[in-house]
């Protein structure tokens, strides 16, 4: 490189620096927090959920649920003496890199509370981003134990955890008299969490026997290997903790193979598509799930509102997302500010806030004190509340 060129380059750099420092804001040299909401403007809530990818439908349910709450609160006058809520939804695609980009995007936009988080694997790397920005996270769906293991002050889970789901599952097994069980997961973070917990609790309890604990690869069509393994052990119950796509296939293939035991699925498989994919085998399949509007008595009006607003039925995590927004609004109101630290304090202090899953109080590790898991069953191709509850 000739010296002449180098001089030119330095000149260009210098000139550009002067221009940028003098001109636009938002750069490194500009003062003040960039993008922070002005005290009178709307209060922004960020929601990072899957909009694309295989979990996209759930993302839509969550977005609608949250939007419904935002609209209701704004209609009732907003928060902090008349400031409106504003929801900002970004895609996570169940991918860590995409989730981090989106989390940064909502942080940059100046959100005050995060009310998103569906895939645990994608939500995990977003924790430090929100933590550094001191933004409280009310996570409506993701529920891996790993999320709260790090003891971050800003992370709150309002879905039951894998542990709580496992407790409900075990209680139901005992109450319904299933003495042998096969645990099958799809090797994702969420799914593995539940099988690991369930296995641990079953071993500690001693009254149920785990005959098989295995994983499958998501995204395939043929699950004859796991079906064969299950048939060989012939457990009374198969507990599938993965998502509905593979769950449907496995239920169907178990049925074709002549499996006579029962199948139970975890909340990731509770989706209207599961009975369709599973075909004839779907009837009588149990599920561990937090309450959905369909199963909550007295939720008819809420469902009607949802339908009126979005011209669609609510689905999994619509209620949790709805509650996450309401909870965020309540905490902001209690704190009387949009400062992260104040909101976190307010969240920790909440006691008895009414939500779909029951009155809310956080445990010291920021999970629900009671998971609110119930047992659903498929009847006529639809998930309904099972008669027998643990």
């Amino acid at each position: 490189m000739k010296t002449g060129t180098r001089k030119t380059v330095l000149l260009v750099i210098g000139a550009a620096m002067v221009l940028t420092t003098a001109g636009c804001g938002g750069g490194l040299l500009s003062s003040g927090a960039s993008g922070a909401a002005t005290p009178s403007g709307p209060v922004k809530l960020g929601m990072v959920v899957p909009i694309s990818g295989s979990s996209a439908p759930t993302g839509a349910y969550m977005k609608n649920g949250a939007q419904l709450a935002v609209d209701e609160i704004n209609k009732a006058g907003g928060v902090l003496k008349g400031r409106k809520l504003e929801l900002m939804v970004e895609d996570e695609a169940c991918d860590a890199q995409q989730a981090v980009a989106s989390a940064n995007k909502v942080v940059s936009a100046g959100v005050v509370v995060s009310v998103g988080g569906y895939c645990s694997g994608a939500t995990l790397p977003t924790l430090p981003i929100f933590q550094k920005a001191n933004i409280p996270m009310i996570i409506p769906a993701a529920n891996s134990q790993d999320l709260v293991k790090q003891g971050l002050a800003n992370v709150f889970l309002i879905n039951g955890t894998g542990k709580q789901q496992s407790t409900t599952a075990l209680a139901f097994m005992k109450k319904s008299g299933f003495t042998t069980v096969a645990l099958v997961d799809d090797n994702t973070s969420y799914s593995k969490d539940i099988t690991t917990e369930t296995q641990a609790q079953i071993v500690a309890d001693g009254s149920v026997k785990v005959l098989l604990n295995t994983s499958v690869t998501a995204g395939e069509s043929d699950y004859s290997a796991v079906v064969r393994a299950i048939m060989a052990k012939n457990p009374a119950l198969v507990y599938w903790t993965g998502y509905y796509q593979e769950g449907g296939l496995i239920i169907n293939q178990l049925k074709k193979a002549g499996f006579t035991g029962k199948v139970m699925v975890a909340d990731g498989s509770v989706d209207p598509s599961l009975p369709k994919i599973a075909g004839a085998g779907a009837e009588g399949v149990f599920a561990t799930m937090t309450q959905t509007p369909d199963t909550i008595k007295g939720a008819e009006r809420w469902i009607a509102n949802y339908k009126a607003a979005f011209n669609a039925d609510p689905g999994p995590y619509s209620t949790q997302s709805y509650d996450a927004v309401r909870l965020a609004a309540k905490a902001i109101e209690d704190a009387g500010s949009t400062k992260g630290a104040d909101i976190i304090k307010a969240l920790e202090a909440i006691d008895g806030f009414s939500m779909f899953s029951g009155p809310l109080k956080f445990t010291p590790e920021h999970t629900l004190s009671s998971g609110g898991f119930v047992i659903l069953v498929i009847k006529d191709g639809k998930f309904i509340l099972n008669a027998l509850q643990p």
Binding site: M1, T5, R6, T8, V9, V12, I13, A16, M17, T20, T21, C24, G26, G27, L28, L29, S30, S34, G35, S52, C94, D95, A96, Q97, V100, A101, N104, K105, V107, S108, A109, S120, G121, A122, L124, P125, L127, P128, I129, A133, S144, D146, Q150, N187, T188, S189, S191, K192, D193, S215, T217
Partner: protein, 347 residues
């Protein structure tokens, strides 16, 4: 053959390209301009989001420049390149997390592991025909990801999270996004430069000879197998360091980040940019990583567009949008002195 060769037989269009865009791209200045732009960008916008996007893009440029060594220079189609990044990111993450070390100190181990990975993947497969090689590398890529997903040392499906930052000396906190961005840009530009320089060296020429005609290269004494293995190892090192930056950037590593789609994206950057031409590759990488962020509507259909573009570019411009330039500067005067070694025998 004396000097009376009929020179008019030679085609006329021999000089450097004439269009202003090509001239700009060929200019030696362009590297400095790009670097200046990268260094100045945070002065325009420094929100966590834009820093994140820019850091991701810079890491992507590093990956593309590494894959360019393998695909562009040496002509070996690698469909599982992201596996090297996985090896680097996991090695760095596991070591730094279990020993509470800053990521910087894991680099020697990362180098060892990625070179090993390059040898393990390359040694048995580089004798294969190019299309078999492509599928085998794809298989290795998937094996790497599934293994990371199934093992407990790699954190299983959740992966590793809470990874310490690159370095922390006194007040200089590299976890600060802006500092990390500058560090990334620095490392990436050094490696892009190194890869460009490698391309214009004896080894880089040997890679091209192998790409163009393996038999002729062998006849000239080029150990094609060794040369290909070297391309693989250099590619692996670039990928592994990309992995370290990735781990530092996300502070988490999980198997979902290393799916085939990612390998394909890096390949698209190399192919669309111009195989073998480092400038084109950098531009390709920037376009592929930044365009979806800039154009929201485009983002949802980007893979369709990229896929169609691959076909269109291959059919109409097989060398890529900005192919490696096919000419070089010639000597100014005729050299009459025979080189001293010219009459010696052997090496």
């Amino acid at each position: 053959m004396s000097e009376n060769v009929d020179a008019t037989l030679a085609p006329q269009r021999l000089g450097p390209p004439r269009s202003p865009i090509s001239r700009l791209l060929e200019s030696r200045l362009i590297g400095w301009v790009a670097l200046a732009a990268a260094l100045l960008a945070p002065f325009v916008t420094a929100s966590p989001y834009s820093l994140n996007v820019m850091t991701t893009a810079a890491i992507f440029v590093l990956l593309a420049s590494g894959l360019n060594i393998v695909v562009g220079y040496c002509g070996l189609l690698d469909l599982g390149y992201i596996a090297f990044m996985a090896v680097g990111a996991y090695t760095a993450g596991i070591i730094s997390k279990s020993f509470e070390l800053p990521l910087l100190f894991t680099i020697p181990a990362v180098l060892v592991m990625t070179i090993l990975a390059g040898l393990i993947i390359g040694a048995p497969t580089l004798r294969l025909r190019s299309d078999y090689l492509a599928i085998v590398t794809l298989g290795f890529g998937e094996i790497t990801r599934i293994t990371a997903n199934n093992l407990s040392v790699t954190g299983g499906p959740s992966g590793i999270f809470g990874i310490p930052g690159l370095l922390k000396i006194g007040g200089l906190d590299v976890e600060n996004p802006a500092v990390l961005y500058y560090l990334t840009v620095l490392v990436v530009s050094l490696f892009v430069l190194a890869s460009a320089r490698l391309g214009k060296s004896r080894l880089g020429r040997a890679w091209r000879f192998v790409r163009e005609d393996e038999d002729a290269a062998e006849a000239m004494g080029i150990h094609t197998y060794k040369v290909k293995l070297l391309a693989y190892i250099f590619g692996a090192i670039w990928g592994g360091l990309g992995g370290v930056l990735f781990a530092a950037h996300l502070s988490a590593v999980s198997p979902q980040s290393f799916i085939f789609l990612q390998s394909a994206l890096v390949l698209m950057a190399v192919v669309l940019g111009g195989m073998g031409n480092m400038r084109g590759v950098v531009i390709g990488a920037l376009v592929i990583s930044l365009l979806p962020e800039l154009l929201r509507d485009f983002a949802s259909n980007r893979y369709l567009v990229f896929g169609l573009l691959l076909v269109v570019v291959m059919v109409f411009r097989p060398q890529g949008f900005w192919p490696a330039r096919g000419y070089e500067r010639e000597r100014a005067t005729v050299d009459v002195d025979p080189p001293a070694v010219a009459t010696e025998q052997g090496r």
